[in-house]
Symmetry: C2
Subunit: 356 residues, 2 copies
Amino acid sequence: MPTIYDVATKAGVSTATVSRVLNGHPKVDPLMRQRVTEAVEDLRYIPNGTARSLVTKQTRRVALLISDITNSFFAETARGAQDALDERGYQLLLANSDDQSSRELRSLATFAETGVDGVLIEPAMPSNQSDATQRANRNKLSRQLEALGVPVVGFGPDRVTNTADIVTIDEEQAGFKAVDHLLGLGHQRIAMINGPAHSAVGSRRAAGYRQALTRNGVAFDPHLLISTNFRRDAGFEAMRTMLEWTNRPSAVFAGDDLIAIGALQALKNSGLRVPQDIAIVCIGDVARTIETDPALTSVVVPRGYELGRVGSQLLLERIMAGGKEPLSPRQVVLETRLVVRGSTVAGLVSHFDLIR
Amino acid sequence: MPTIYDVATKAGVSTATVSRVLNGHPKVDPLMRQRVTEAVEDLRYIPNGTARSLVTKQTRRVALLISDITNSFFAETARGAQDALDERGYQLLLANSDDQSSRELRSLATFAETGVDGVLIEPAMPSNQSDATQRANRNKLSRQLEALGVPVVGFGPDRVTNTADIVTIDEEQAGFKAVDHLLGLGHQRIAMINGPAHSAVGSRRAAGYRQALTRNGVAFDPHLLISTNFRRDAGFEAMRTMLEWTNRPSAVFAGDDLIAIGALQALKNSGLRVPQDIAIVCIGDVARTIETDPALTSVVVPRGYELGRVGSQLLLERIMAGGKEPLSPRQVVLETRLVVRGSTVAGLVSHFDLIR
DNA sequence: TCGCAACATCGTAGATGGTTGGCACGAACA
DNA sequence: TGTTCGTGCCAACCATCTACGATGTTGCGA
């Protein structure tokens, strides 16, 4: 492996000049630049990033700490981050926390040793712990992040550090928009099939549901809110139990698209018409909500990709600013959007109609 | 940020002793060890990995170069790799190639600068190029990997470097087992609904299909092989066209589980019984193949997770061996396994029966 | 034409934070 | 007292960047 000395010798200049050429320093004679460039190519010289990092204190490396890359949402986040970082020549270091604070801290410790220029983090929120423990964990996390001494961007609603930027999806707003739409159509008795009640997104979507009701003067009835899982079969079962109620809801708000698909199936099985007998609205992804019959009215939330991309951009801005005159913490809230389809308004053309 | 000097001063020893304590060197007085450990904790000293790497020439970092982390198979691969690496304190650097040779080479160039101890790679196989271009790209890739001077493990059937290990799934075998099973049941007219014919896995599975036929003395009929996409709707459509043939197949081999699910739906829609009228076998994942009714007979192929894990283990072995007395290139072929269910043998208990 | 100042560019040397081989030193033992 | 053994220390080294001083060049006035 040739070093900068070899290049210097071959080009007949000092190592300083080689370094200047390599780093695009303006004040260097074109002739020298030429000679150095040739020597570099002849020797197939590749600068040693480790040595460079040692003196510049920059690694051109960013850590992404998420709960699980196997979750497609976070895979997208990783991809979005990667693409944004790649444009500026930064690399991505990946770590999974499995939503465990201990693993999170351990990963951060390794990052501290190995050296990163910034951290993107989706903070672990273990739901099986007391509030006190959670708070304690958050404090530890916060301290350790600050000790790293590099910019941090967090995904999710709450600020992970006093100086960190955050980028988040307005889940309350999504829930609100969905239910507000139903209310606008005249529905009064609106049930919700939610994911886990204590989950980060589930609780926020439910909050939006309540908000929409009370703002429109409809009393919140806890019996109408079923908490299950973000899965198709869970939606199916929940809908079936609802159908056995004496006083059926006229509309259902599904916590996500999988739940909605399951609920729709249950309604079809029992011969009910959507939206005439029961309307369905959900929060979800475009791809999945247009495949059903009727197509699902849904509040489209940004995908993981956008989250990762925007987060990386914020992080890169801070990294390039170089820590001087610290920018005040920023918060980016990605917008959600209601798309009305056949599951709430009869007669709207469905995707199936279009492709047949 | 305290350095090793600060620790040495505080503990009243030399930096060499501190270093020895940090690296678990055996020949050091317990008293000194004690003093050093205390100083480390007092100062919250964190060794500088960059400086260490500069002298040890190890980074404890491994690169994973795949086409797209958004593909759930590769997300699993990443996770498997991560878990295996984590056990030994190694970190994962992630890069996406999008199946483009140029991006692949560019990523490798950055790895060369930044420094990695090993590379896990799923080589790009752009299908829209001539054989000559592909060969040229493979050569370039091979050379650049060798220039890196670190161990390499490739995913897929062919060796990326003269010294690289490879870990792969025996797709031919999977196809063979599936079709062999049908032949064993007495089927003679067996169709195949494949994914893209030119895709890496598609072509190999089709090869297994042909092998099984010819080995059992059944002539291969190209009309019975439909190439589409690894998607549910593709399976649905392909099955519908097959049903319009005058001479229907008695069994269908689906290239993957999504295709099989689509095909099964088409059969149900037209009132045919599975397996009595038409049997179905596929290659796929356990989770998805037991959810249908009847449950799908399938050849279970290892998941991405296992691939990533095994690959990392091979890589780590080489890294720890330290490059001396080079191990001869190894090839790990992960086994596939036929699981017989209701879609080929009537009366086998289905998953649905079990949970109701 | 010569001398000197100003400017552009280059090279020297120190710094970055660790690791490690060889050497010196002290204690234990014969 | 001489030898051996164990252990800590000194100093060299890893590959690069960069502040600062040195060098060469150019322009201008005398």
